[in-house]
């Protein structure tokens, strides 16, 4: 027996719509790590812009150029290095999952692709390091 003095029934298109709280990323470890992973882009970008600034000073000629080497700069670089390494590790792990490389009819297993990515990273690092050291001897 419906009591007509009660509030009018609401059809379900007036269903309760929940809002995702802004703090959703704090709800579990994986969400929080996602946030950290995304934020590693900021130090990477910041350091590259500092490199650009240094290169800009080169156009001032020998008198205007001072290499950045202060303790503050080194500390800044260390933080950026940590962020860049975390970025690289997360990126190479994930891209191993994404890339599909065909081996005949089958696909190369994701773990092999990831390993290949890391191998690529090692090779590139060694080559660039060697080039930087060699170019450091140019006068």
């Amino acid at each position: 027996m419906i009591d007509v003095s009660e509030p009018r029934p609401r059809p379900f298109f007036l269903a309760y719509r929940p809002t995702l709280p802004r703090t959703w990323w704090m709800r579990n470890r994986r969400y929080a790590f996602f946030g950290l992973r995304e934020l590693t882009a900021i130090p990477v970008g910041a350091w590259l812009l500092s490199l650009l600034y240094e290169l800009w000073r080169v156009s001032d000629g020998p008198s205007g150029y001072t290499p950045s080497a202060s303790p503050l700069y080194i500390a800044f670089s260390i933080i950026c290095f940590a962020a860049a390494v975390l970025h690289s590790i997360t990126w190479l792990n994930l891209s191993g999952v994404i890339l599909r490389i065909k081996m005949g009819e089958k696909d190369v297993p994701p773990r092999t692709v990831t390993l290949a990515n890391y191998a690529q990273w090692v090779v590139v690092t060694v080559v660039v390091a060697a080039l930087l050291i060699w170019l450091g001897t140019w006068r």
Partner: protein, 147 residues
């Protein structure tokens, strides 16, 4: 069983919703992906050598050359100027700096969206992607200004 027949085609009438491929989204994502791979492979070694080891006096790199008392500014200048004089080096530096900027821009935009930082999406897109384009132009300008 003999009355059974397949429909003429499995293409049913179009649904009410009309979807359009978002090519611009694809472009930004593609740049994000290329920039991310570039940053992942190249940036750590540059930070390590140019940002940490050379300033600490452990190795000489272009722009930071060791002298008898710490870094020698003149030698440092000559090494970086000599390196940048090479057009291949210029191209490499352009890729190293400019491509990751699109990666950073894309990530910042989506962090702002995911965390609901408030500003209107088109405004943020203009700010971040525009910033990446600006950064690219600045990099080109700097590289061209070095003899």
């Amino acid at each position: 069983m003999s009355n059974f027949s397949l429909p003429e085609t499995s293409r049913l009438p179009a649904t009410e919703h009309h979807y359009k491929p978002a090519r611009l989204h694809g472009l930004w994502w593609g740049l994000f992906a290329v920039g991310g791979m570039t940053a992942a492979l190249l940036v750590p070694v540059h930070i390590l050598f140019q940002g940490i080891l050379a300033p600490l006096g452990l190795v000489s790199v272009p722009g930071k050359v060791l002298g008898p008392n710490g870094l020698d500014p003149a030698a440092s200048y000559h090494s970086i100027a000599a390196a940048l004089a090479n057009p291949l080096v210029k191209l490499y530096v352009l890729a190293l700096i400019a491509l990751p900027l699109y990666h950073v821009a894309h990530r910042l935009l989506y962090v702002a969206i995911d965390l609901r930082l408030g500003l209107h999406r088109s405004l943020l897109a203009l700010l971040f992607y525009g910033g990446a384009v600006l950064g690219t132009l600045l990099t080109i300008a700097v590289l061209l200004s070095v003899p």
